[in-house]
């Protein structure tokens, strides 16, 4: 029998149902691993020992009464961007270091409703702005595959925790690749759903038109179970999609034979690491073996996605972060002289450098006289990029490419060069601009480090994405590899 922390969600649910172990034991097991490993990894900002055991106790009662569902009693970690009632919700920022949310995010509420047990809150780049988890006020997260390296970001704490088996599942959010890139760098499976599929209520906004919550776990199957509980219309979020949620678990079993997959030409050109390219080739060969048809497709405007993104996302963030003004919650400077002093010092002290940089970029882009040239133009580019995808999906069912141009880079390697950092999201950003669903799953290791294979689906085709990923995972073992010392 495999160790508890190596079991899939289905195996855990089966074990709980058969009383092989209780939810309380499960929670204790993972809390024990957190105590053992997180001092080095720094995946969690807050650990909720007592509350986790209380929730696990309730889950055990539910299971005993035969009222458990597929996720009841299973522990998870929430990215610290999700509001959790009564628990510190910092968003990785000193600004919210003192903030205890008075309410639960819809994602939190739904997963709790399914009986999941929250172990704690995951570290992240400050306000989800970063690709390496180095912008967190709580210090960088270390990649369990090599603690000299970054886990990716911004959902780096979630990805590293799942990779190190500190939790069987975690939530993440993805504005420009923040689920897929850390999933790729940590060797786990992470899905960014279609914009609007999962409610944003209670998820602290970075760039509202791009933000989307999704599951992070070790396999596509686990992600399917999590997404089924997270997804769905929420009347509290006007941008959430009012359409039924597909049966993702049922969709997993379909054959891949004849599925047309488009290799995105632009994602394999210069800038892609050679080892990464080889890993992609191996993954594509495995897909062909399953009967998938691979063809080359082009997204001719994808090269504009990074510049368009770095106008739209900062513009929205400059407005979204205006509420952190030291007046009602969050950090307030000591003894403000007057109102302007209160604003200036509270915000200067509360926000880190990357957040300030983006607020300034965004403020500039929206200013009178620059709006048309920047924001409006970027929105037009966004439309052109979405049209590229529409065109591609006439020919193929799915798109494929790497999730990141290289494997995990070293801590500090890019922190002084923002543009180099921004380019690590070069393959993920276009998907957010178009609002499409996409996942990253482990490909073969490259020099001992994880490489992420990205699959992109058409709108609301999460089921098909998970299906192809699951079929690939049934016949390969890349997703089962565990970083040394965490097995």
């Amino acid at each position: 029998m495999s160790a508890l922390h190596q079991k899939s969600l289905r195996e855990l649910a089966a074990g709980l149902a058969a009383r092989e172990f209780s939810s309380v034991e499960l929670a204790e097991h993972f809390l024990q691993r957190i105590r053992a490993f997180d001092h080095d990894l720094n995946c969690l900002i807050t650990v909720c020992d007592k509350e986790a055991l209380r929730q696990a106790g309730l889950a055990d009662e539910r299971i005993q009464k035969g009222e458990g569902g597929p996720l009841t009693g299973i522990p998870l970690i929430h990215k610290d961007i999700f509001c959790t009632r009564g628990v510190k919700t910092s968003c990785g920022s000193f600004m919210l270091d003192n903030f205890v949310s008075p309410y639960d995010a819809t994602v939190v509420e739904r997963l709790a409703g399914a009986g999941m047990v929250m172990l704690g809150k995951a570290n992240m780049d400050e306000f989800a702005m970063g690709s390496s988890n180095e912008t967190s006020h709580y210090g960088p997260v270390k990649n369990p595959w090599d603690t000299e390296r970054v886990p990716g970001g911004s959902s780096g704490g979630s990805a590293a925790a799942v990779a190190a088996r500190l939790a069987p599942a975690a939530t993440g959010t993805d504005t420009g690749g923040s689920i897929r890139q850390p999933a790729a760098l940590c060797g786990i499976t992470g899905l960014k759903p279609t914009y609007g599929r999962v409610s944003r209520w209670g998820m602290i906004a970075f760039a509202s038109s791009l933000d989307q919550a999704g599951p992070m776990a070790r396999s596509a199957e686990d992600c399917a179970l999590l997404l089924a509980a997270m997804a769905g219309f929420d009347e509290k979020d006007s941008t959430s999609a009012n359409r039924p949620v597909d049966d993702y678990a049922a969709a997993l079993e379909a054959s891949v034979k004849g599925v047309r997959i488009g290799m995105v030409k632009e994602f394999f050109e210069e800038g892609l690491d050679a080892g990464m390219a080889a890993a992609m080739d191996e993954a594509m060969a495995a897909l062909k073996k399953l009967g998938a048809e691979l063809v080359e497709v082009s997204l001719p405007h994808s090269k504009y996605s990074v510049p368009a993104y770095y106008v739209v996302a900062p513009a929205e963030c400059s407005s979204n972060l205006a509420r952190f003004d030291g007046v009602r919650f969050g950090h307030r400077c000591k003894e403000p002289k007057d109102l302007e002093d209160l604003y200036k010092r509270s915000r200067s002290e509360g926000f880190g450098a990357e957040v300030k940089r983006r607020i300034m970029i965004g403020t500039y882009a929206l200013s009178a006289g620059y709006y048309d040239a920047y924001y409006l133009k970027a929105q037009q580019v966004r439309q052109v990029i979405a049209d590229d995808f529409r065109e591609a999906f006439r020919r193929v069912d799915l798109l494929l490419g790497p999730a990141s141009p290289e494997t995990a880079f070293r801590l500090g390697e890019k922190s002084s060069d923002p543009v180099a950092m921004y380019l690590s999201d070069i393959y993920t950003i276009a998907v957010n601009l178009a609002g499409l669903p996409a996942l990253s799953m482990p490909a073969p290791l490259v020099e001992g480090l994880p490489a992420g294979l990205q699959l992109i689906g058409n709108y609301f085709e999460e089921g098909r994405l998970l299906n192809v990923a699951h079929q690939l995972q049934r016949t390969t073992d890349w997703h089962l590899q565990t970083p040394g010392g965490y097995a």
């Binding site: 309410y103 209520w201 979020d237 006007s238 941008t239 929206l366 200013s367 924001y375």
Partner: protein, 481 residues
């Protein structure tokens, strides 16, 4: 030089929805500070706005009433600026694409001419909270109860040429929104607020002069006075060779002057952009039809109906439809009294006179429409005379009791028994033989005037209760011999 004044008004009408425009919190006025502000109104991390459909319906009603185009697709934008009573650091408003497009209203000028005033647009937005500067010992208090209250901002064309026209236009808009029931119109509570853009130019000049924006005009009187002050100030500046500075000015009612608040250079760059938390607002024909199906009657239509249905003069109809409250009150009186003209007279002369004297609004009247109707009914059915009715009215005003109760208790019922009246008439004629003799010998042309003496005597003897019409007829007959 002769100067022409050019004015445009921006009116903020608070919409009478029960909950706020983007949250479920109550909009009721006067609650304890910060008790009607939910997490959305407080701008907490992670919260999102959801548009209140009732606010949209009210905007559609207004647009229809001013014959404006209703935009099938309109967009909410964020107006970004920092202020402590603006929790999110931005106000959600409509900017490039408002829900109500170009429309118009008509105002009556002095001398009776009608002038059409263009309404540029009307858009939905949320109100901010209130900053309270008193009683906090050097600090500012913030009350966010008002934050998120729905507003309809109604922007006029610069079609107004005097303070009087501006007031007539503002009153017309006030009349429309209160008739529609989309705004309670209460200016003391800030439900209806006005800003005026004022400039002057030499008569005949096409180009508009530099304008100033006047704020804090919370009554029609202040609107008129502030504009007049500002026009004079601008003309003085220009005539002395100076220039008008584009700026926002605050009206100080106590000093009756405007003073600079901030100049154009100090103005915020609001960095408007479409709010990504809200989808574009799409209204279809069915939604509009459903909304306007039960549209309340508008002032013009009601005025015409009053003339036709109740036979009122244009003047009376105008006065009685000045506000929806007045028109509703009047129809309440008629419903009980039956006699529409008599009802109009009693409401306009007695009731309005009494209200005026007491300094009360119609809404504060101690007499309900039903009560006044009950009194008018007793005049109409000859139970009491008009003269007695006046004393009954006074009694009703003071005690709040019904007309019938007072008439009953004081025995004021009119004498209509012809036998009883005849007895009194005979008595009076017998007691005044000399006057009877005079009357009979007088020129017939002078007789009607002389009749008054006898009528007076009979009324006095009957303590005012004899039916005057019967008294007159009987006296004429008997005096003719």
């Amino acid at each position: 030089m002769e100067w022409e004044t050019v004015i445009g008004l921006e009116i903020h009408a608070q919409l009478t929805t029960r909950s706020k425009i983007f949250s479920g919190a109550s909009t009721a006025f006067g609650a304890e500070p910060n008790t009607q502000a939910c997490l959305v109104d407080l701008g907490f991390p992670g919260v999102l706005p959801v548009l209140n459909e009732q606010a949209v319906r009210k905007a559609v009603l207004f647009g229809t009433a001013i014959e404006a185009e209703i935009a099938r697709r309109s967009v909410f934008a964020r107006k970004n600026y920092f202020y402590p009573d603006l929790p999110k650091g931005y106000q959600i408003s409509q900017y490039e694409l408002p829900i109500v497009g170009r429309g118009h209203v008509e105002i009556l000028l002095e001398g009776g001419a009608v002038k059409r005033i263009g309404v540029t647009r009307a858009h939905l937005e949320e109100d901010a909270g209130k900053s309270l500067h008193e009683d906090f010992h050097g600090y500012t208090g913030i009350d966010l109860n008002r934050a998120g209250t729905p507003l309809l901002e109604i922007v006029s064309e610069p079609d107004l040429r005097s303070a009087k026209e501006a007031v007539a236009y503002a009153k017309k808009i006030h009349q429309i929104v209160t008739y529609l029931g989309i705004c309670d119109g209460n200016m003391q509570e800030g439900s209806f607020r006005m800003d005026a853009n004022v400039s002057v130019r030499p008569r005949g000049e096409e180009k508009l002069g530099t304008r100033t924006e006047l704020k804090n005009l919370n009554s029609f009187r202040f609107l008129e006075r502030a504009i007049n002050f500002e026009v004079e100030r601008q003309i003085d500046l220009l005539e002395s060779g100076s220039a008008v500075v584009q700026e926002t000015r605050l009206y100080d009612a106590q000093k009756d002057e405007t003073r600079s608040m901030r100049t154009k250079e100090e103005a915020n760059d609001y960095r408007y952009f479409p709010d990504p938390d809200l989808l574009p607002l799409v209204v279809d024909d069915a939604f509009i039809e459903e909304t306007v199906r039960d549209m309340p009657e508008l002032p013009e239509a009601r005025r015409r109906r009053f003339e036709e249905q109740y036979g009122l003069s244009p003047y009376d109809a105008d006065v009685l439809t000045a506000s929806r409250a007045a028109a509703d009150y009047y129809e309440g009186v008629v419903a009980v009294a039956g006699d529409a003209k008599l009802a109009a007279n009693w409401m306009m002369v007695e009731l309005y006179g009494a209200l005026n004297k007491a300094g009360l609004e119609l809404s504060e009247s101690p007499l309900s429409a039903e009560a006044l109707g009950g009194l008018v009914l007793r005049i109409a059915d000859d139970t009491i005379s008009g003269k007695i009715a006046k004393s009954v009215f006074e009694e009703m005003w003071a005690s709040g009791r019904s007309a019938d109760a007072i008439i009953e208790e004081k025995g004021l019922k009119q004498i209509t028994d012809s036998g009883a009246i005849e007895a009194i008439v005979d008595e009076v004629l017998a007691e005044n033989a000399a006057q009877v003799e005079n009357y009979r010998n007088a020129d017939p042309k002078k007789q009607p005037k002389m009749l008054g003496f006898f009528v007076g005597q009979v009324m006095k003897k009957s303590q005012g209760k004899a039916n005057p019409k019967q008294v007159n007829e009987l006296l004429r007959k008997k005096l003719a011999g």
